[in-house]
Amino acid sequence: MDIPVVDSKISPEMAHAIFQQEFFPHMDAMYNFALKLTNDEDEAQDLVQDTCMKAYRFIHSFEPGTYAKAWLFRILKNNFINDYRKKSRGPSKVEFEWVEQSISGDEDAEPAFQADLHAETVNDMLGDEITAAIQSLPVDFRMIIILCDLEEFSYEEMARILHIPIGTVRSRLHRARALLKVSLAKYAKAKGFV
């Protein structure tokens, strides 16, 4: 086991208290995020565990009273990008032209189509169908949907967590939602909902 590097000003008792009061209340959200990123329960568990160990290692950079959830999510996201992304089972087989545009840096390109989907159709869908549609998104789009719609981070917090400009947060979110609608519309059509 690696002996963590901690600041001498943070006593083990203080670290314990920070985990109890500030970090542990976000375990469900962290696991949920990790599971959506990895698509694999074992990898999600490893990712959350590694994130907690890194949170301890770098606890000196956490300021008690600040937004612990955003701080933890930033560590988790970095951990995922650095250590898990390559080996994760990613669907990422989304053949939409503007996904490629966004990957090539053309973040402002408008989608070339609109999804034929209505609010009533979405209301009739089951959780599994919504979850499957989210899981079918490329990971960058999946990430922003979870952070915004599920965890309700502000655009500014998302920009910090993802280390991207706030304008990119807006455009990526717009794209992610459009992709999600296309995915759900395809599903609804296949199932005869529309």
Partner: protein, 72 residues
């Protein structure tokens, strides 16, 4: 919808939304999607993972408590 608009922008949108059917439909769809995600896509952290993490951290904290006096 994401609570990112200013009060002025929100008032402008709400005042004009009813005059534009595509805006109404688009807004209703986005809101229902957001609600569907919020209510359907949450899973809880497995209890054994939480216990494992707590145990590992406890062990690390004990080790640090023992080691710090030896080097100070």
């Amino acid at each position: 919808m994401d609570k990112e608009a200013t009060a002025e922008e929100e008032a402008h949108f709400l005042a004009n939304k009813d005059q534009c059917i595509p805006c109404q439909e688009g807004y209703a769809l986005e809101v229902s999607l957001k609600k569907a995600i919020k209510s359907n896509c949450t899973v809880s952290c497995p209890t054994d993972l939480f216990v494992r993490i707590k145990a590992k951290l406890f062990l690390v904290l004990i080790l640090i408590s023992i080691l710090i006096p030896l080097f100070c």
